[in-house]
Amino acid sequence: MENSDGVQTKKTVVIGTIGSDAHVAGSWILKRSFQDAGFNVVFLGAMVSQKEFINAAIETGADAILVSSMYGMGILDCEGFRKKCTESGLKDILLYVGGMLAAPMELAKNWNKIEEKMKSEGFDRVYAPRTLPEVCIEDLKKDLKIS
């Protein structure tokens, strides 16, 4: 991976499933895909608290945090996450969230409401369930201005 002026820089991403959510298959596959794409991946598995995401990002100087939420309580678990990142000094870290973000099917069916909610919480990008990892990898490269 090179940034715009061709300098070799391995980017680091933190990946995990947030809150009390035990679903790990999705983030397990995300981890493998990002590793294959040349990223340095810090994989926290499932049931990761906001604090654990933040500490891991600080320790590893991560460029982005990828939050997966599947069990339906994503809205509650993600609230205030950007605020906490900023307070912990991670001012301009990229925050992505994805997965089955809302319990009731109604919310899942009108996806835009969830997207708005997550964007208002400070997430830079919000991914619907089934989004293939490759889509997110391209977005991240763009946001990090690397090829």
Binding site: S20, A22, G72, M73, M100, A102, A108
Partner: protein, 487 residues
């Protein structure tokens, strides 16, 4: 590395004194609704008034004797109205009643992890916004009064899905509420629901729930205990069968008399029927050898636990495939997901739809069974070799104590599966499908597989490689994880 002395838990029945002490000091104090059910015998008295026809344990035993089936619906969101409306709508529109159906009510994950404050906050927001922010029904926040209301609303028996960390208080409340089924599965709670809770603790919670169920049963309220292992959706038939066979001893020791042995389908009908037979046979054998002679074992199945297709009719096909496999396999009590599985929590319309599918299949082919065959015999033989070999190793590791053996087994990677958030699981195993969709081991890690089984799996994987002209590798493993959902 643990040695056996350092493992505190053991497969010993809780004395009444030990049980009531944990109840009083550990369980009821976890939330204020614990106070409402302090008098256990009063709770049992209330439960005894429920009509026998609405008792899940007796319902399943009767269905097994009469070669009938019981369809079991998952259902659970935050508000009581959602629950009562859903129960009345479904029973009103599908002909579901105590003769052919029961409810498997889902608790939300905060409640299951004893985070009752978060659950209460989520419940308030759900009531305020009229939207369920919780992924289940927060039974502990509600308490026994609402649990009784739900039970009185329903014609079919109610049971509670307490899988996840610690559902002891929730189980106390629902049994006091007159519900007649609960779940008690330790390995499941490890591999599927938790990150860093040691198996010892999970076994302890399971023992408590089993003892509580037995307490009711001994006083005239038979309680069905779901000894199942839905797993992660990515496990081998060997793993889930072993989990159920091994834990049948844990429940038996606590005095459980009604064990519902529930397995997840690989979707290969022959292998799934074989796994059910091996599980029922070995559970009965090991319990019998250990002296537990009067347990009713009822066969059961979960719907497909891996990812579902988004198209509602493709999902309908899954429901029909699962049900037909259970009919042909004579699997008495099987659970149903709804066609919304790939979208979100079941709605009442989704639950009713599943029952329309299943009741039609029962009407047109309910008496058909899968005949004996060479293929079924081989799958049974291979699964029995695998499960028996692991049972003997684990019992040996625990000096005959299955609780200790299980803890050692997990730690040594003998009891191991592929994808799980549980840090205690070694994860050296890679599961893959063969050419007919049976689960096989691409990598067996430290599993104590007899040579014959290893060779059989290798051959079966080679058949697929030949047919699909591609190597069996991690890429194929990952494809197999989501092939069902790629409509």
């Amino acid at each position: 590395m643990h040695n056996i002395q350092s493992i505190k838990v053991s497969n010993k029945r809780l004395t009444e004194e030990e049980f009531l002490k944990i109840r009083k000091e550990e369980v009821l104090p976890m939330w204020e609704t614990g106070k409402e059910i302090e008098n256990l015998d009063q709770c049992v008295e209330y439960a005894k008034q429920m009509p026998e026809s609405k008792n899940m344990a007796l319902q399943l035993v009767k269905a097994k004797e009469e070669k009938r089936f019981i369809a079991i619906s998952h259902f659970g969101r935050a508000t009581v109205d959602f629950m009562t409306e859903g129960i009345e709508y479904t029973e009103g529109n599908t002909g579901a009643d105590a003769g052919n159906h029961n409810w498997f009510i889902e608790g939300d994950t905060y409640t299951r992890k004893c985070k009752y404050t978060e659950a209460a906050k989520g419940l308030e927001r759900s009531k305020k916004d009229g939207v369920s922010y919780l992924n289940g029904w927060p039974v502990v926040c509600y308490g026994v009064k609402e649990a009784r209301r739900l039970n009185e609303t329903a014609k079919s028996p109610l049971s509670y899905n307490g899988s996840d960390e610690d559902a002891r208080l929730a189980t106390e409340i629902i049994l006091a509420g007159g519900w007649t089924g609960t779940s008690a599965h330790a390995l499941e709670n490890g591999i599927a629901h938790t990150k860093d809770v040691p198996l010892e603790n999970l076994i302890r919670y399971t023992q408590y729930k089993a003892r509580l169920a037995a307490y009711y049963t001994e006083r005239g309220v038979p309680i069905n205990v779901q000894n199942g292992c839905p797993g992660t959706g990515y496990d081998s038939n060997g793993y889930t069968s072993f989990a159920v066979v091994s834990e049948s001893l844990l429940d038996a020791e606590q005095g459980v008399k009604y064990e519902h042995l529930v397995l997840p389908p690989s979707l290969n009908m022959i292998q799934d029927i074989a796994a059910m037979r091996v599980t029922e046979r070995l559970a009965a054998e090991y319990c019998h050898k250990a002296g537990y002679k009067d347990i009713h074992f009822i066969c059961g199945a979960y719907p497909y636990i891996g990812p579902w297709p988004q198209d509602s009719h493709a999902a309908g096909a899954m429901i029909c495939q699962n049900a037909i496999s259970c009919i042909l396999g004579n699997i008495t009590g099987f659970l149903l997901k709804s066609i919304e599985e790939a979208w979100g929590l079941p709605t009442k319309e989704g639950v009713a739809t599943s029952l329309h599918y299943v009741f039609q299949l029962l009407r047109v082919m309910g008496t058909q069974r899968m005949p004996e065959s060479k293929e079924l015999e081989i799958e049974e033989k291979m699964l029995e070799l695998e499960v028996r070999s692991l049972m003997e190793r684990v019992l040996d590791l625990g000096d005959g104590d299955i609780a200790k053996g299980l803890c050692m087994g997990v730690e040594m990677g003998l009891v191991d599966t592929m994808v799980t958030p549980w840090k205690y699981n070694k994860g050296n195993v890679l599961n893959i499908r063969d050419a007919e969709g049976c689960t096989r081991y691409l990598e067996k890690g430290n599993l104590p597989l007899p040579e014959e089984v290893v060779e059989f799996h290798r051959q079966k994987i080679a058949e697929r490689e030949k047919r699909e002209k591609r190597k069996a590798d991690i890429k194929m493993v990952i494809d197999d994880m989501t092939f069902v959902s790629r409509a």
